[in-house]
């Protein structure tokens, strides 16, 4: 029984992280209309950011999390303004190939400069006991960090002026434009937020797992499954989707095998697209 509870909690903690990555992807996809295959690479960059600030500047990773948001936001916004905004009216294949090229560029440069050596941020190690359960410190703190970011995101989207502008652009960009909303600015801001979320997720990841240049790949495939599950552009859906994927992965890894857990994202994508392509949740 305890074992099952631990697995479930582990899944939820995993899920919170996946949700963070997934929400960033779905936000960009829904508002900007771009499928960012390089989204995982920014998670990787976030992890390396945490690593280098930790080892060179002895910066507390918890501070890095906070710092990473504005830094990666700026990176994302600039990237969009200079590059991806040009593809606003281009066919979808273009965005796919562009971001794919960007993905290859980024992780190969990372590999070139930082080598394939596994890195880590050994800031929070070890476990602790809670109500008879054994939980990893790093994973627990990560969970709360991810939760905190999620709450911040939702508050921002719901109550701030920009957040409302973003939601309007996502629902109907033509109408939003007519209503005087600067949709181009909204797209740029959204892209920035998406990348900001990815970078922060990366810092959080660095607390728990090894860091290496190609790590982005696995996050992207899970993020895709989350976006499909939750419905395109549906941030709340992505949150729930993230938890579902996290829990499923934890359960399948424990009761079947890690290899079977690898098939999960692909399977989910196919099933959802065939049965309920708009995702499980209503807007």
């Amino acid at each position: 029984m305890t074992n099952f509870l631990e697995i479930l909690i582990r899944g939820l903690m995993l899920g919170s992280l996946y949700a963070l990555v997934g929400m960033g992807l779905t936000l960009v996809w829904g508002v900007v209309g771009i499928v960012n295959i390089a989204h995982g690479e920014f998670v990787m960059l976030g992890a390396y950011f945490a690593f280098w600030t930790f080892s060179l500047l002895h910066l507390n990773p918890l501070i890095s999390v906070v710092l990473s948001v504005p830094i990666f936001f700026l990176i994302g916004a600039t990237l969009h303004k200079r590059i991806t905004e040009r593809l606003t009216n281009a066919p979808e294949l273009s965005a796919l190939i562009l971001t794919f090229g960007m993905s290859i560029l980024i992780w190969n440069l990372a590999q070139f400069f930082w080598t394939n050596t596994y890195r880590s941020v050994p800031y929070l190690t070890g476990n602790f006991s809670f109500l008879g359960l054994t939980l990893a410190k790093s994973k627990t703190i990560s969970f709360f960090l991810a939760l905190g970011m999620t709450i911040a995101l939702f508050t921002f989207l719901k109550y701030s002026k920009i957040g409302k502008g973003i939601r309007a652009t996502s629902q109907n960009s033509e109408v939003a434009l007519v209503c005087g909303i600067d949709t181009k600015k909204m797209r740029t801001l959204t892209f920035g937020i998406g990348i900001g979320l990815a970078g922060a997720a990366g810092v959080i990841v660095s607390l728990q797992w090894v860091i290496f240049p190609q790590m982005g790949g696995s996050y992207v495939s899970k993020a895709f499954a989350i976006v499909v599950l939750g419905g395109l552009g549906n941030v709340q859906g992505a949150l729930v989707g993230g938890f579902i994927i996290g829990v499923l992965e934890s359960l399948v890894t424990q009761y079947m095998s890690a290899k079977m857990a690898q098939i999960l994202p692909s399977l989910i994508i196919l099933i959802i697209l065939l049965l309920k392509p708009t995702g499980l949740f209503k807007r």
Binding site: L87, L98, N108, K259, I263
Partner: protein
């Protein structure tokens, strides 16, 4: 201009090229044979991909699925059942095209990016599946299957040369036919095409299946050439992406774009790889980005727009 008309010159040029290519094995070194075989394989992949995706606009991100499944059927027949390559190859292609009819019927209802994602999911899932213990007795699982088909290199070369020619010819015929126009109409506005009497479902599935057959045949030959197959090799995402990039390079939706792209790209790859091994992939990624941002129509598209080439469907 008399006998030196443009058409005549083109035909003569093609005849010389053909003669050169057919006699190639008699004077080429192993290095050049390898290079040309690869160019021809990727020409088939790129043209096959373009035939479906370039015309209908349904981005097929599952080319490796065609290659892998056909490659496995063909290789297993050769290695475990002692089938001659002459029959194993078409069998692999036939198998994948039959499966593609069913898969196409199911998945081609899904539009846009979702279709692309579902094909990736299908490929990844099949890759994992072929590597599992359950299927190991047939597929040899993750260990891989090294095998020898007993085919001389020159014969393999002539086979892929023949397939490449057939593929290009089919693309040429279809692109300037009514069927080709129907596929393009699907890309332009599928629903409007439907209300104008075009059976888009039938057209899509037909093109998808044809693409799978040609690419599958190429895949069978490719695996035989490598004398090896395993799930990571056969279903590698690179097998999907490289032909797509080649097609974009040469000109998507055109007849000779994929050929041009495959040829140029392979040469560039050779040069880059030799000179800049470490940063090769990074540069590849960068080239991709530049391509999409500034030359989305590829080389042929650019030439047609500049008037260097006539704006006709035949090329």
């Amino acid at each position: 201009m008399g006998i030196l008309s443009k058409k005549f010159l083109i035909l003569v040029g093609l005849a010389i090229l053909l003669a050169f290519l057919i006699s190639f094995p008699f004077f080429a070194t192993d290095y050049w044979m390898t290079l040309l075989i690869l160019i021809l394989i990727y020409t088939v992949y790129a043209s096959g991909w373009n035939l479906f995706s370039g015309l209908t606009g349904y981005t097929n991100f599952g080319l490796a699925w065609f290659i892998g499944v056909s490659g496995y059927v063909s290789s297993i027949l050769i290695a475990d059942y002692q089938w001659p390559w002459l029959f194993a190859w078409p069998m692999g292609a036939l198998f994948i095209s039959l499966v593609s009819i069913a898969v196409g019927y199911i998945l081609l209802r899904i539009k846009g990016v979702y279709f692309a994602i579902s094909m990736v999911a299908l490929t990844e899932g099949t890759r994992e599946l072929f590597g599992t213990g359950y299927l190991e007795p047939i597929t040899h699982g993750g260990k891989g299957l090294p095998f020898v088909a007993g085919i001389p290199l020159s014969t393999l070369y002539w086979s892929i040369l023949f397939l490449a020619f057939v593929t290009i010819f089919i693309c040429y015929k279809i692109t300037s036919s009514k069927f080709g126009l129907q596929l393009m109409a699907i890309r332009e506005d599928e629903q409007a095409a439907e209300t104008l009497g075009i059976n888009t479902t039938k057209a899509k599935i037909l093109a998808f299946t044809l693409s799978s057959f040609l690419v599958g045949l190429g895949g069978a030959i490719h695996c035989t050439y490598q004398n090896y197959i395993d799930p990571n090799y056969a279903f590698n995402i690179q097998l999907t992406l490289t032909p797509i990039v080649m097609t974009l390079f040469g000109g998507i939706g055109t007849v000779f774009g994929p050929v041009l792209g495959a040829t140029l790209f392979t040469f560039i790859h050779e040069i880059l790889w030799a000179e800049l091994t470490l940063l090769y992939m990074a540069i590849f990624g960068g080239i991709l980005m530049v391509l999409i941002l500034f030359f989305p129509q590829g080389l042929l598209g650019w030439m047609k727009r500049r008037g260097i080439l006539p704006k006709i469907r035949k090329i």
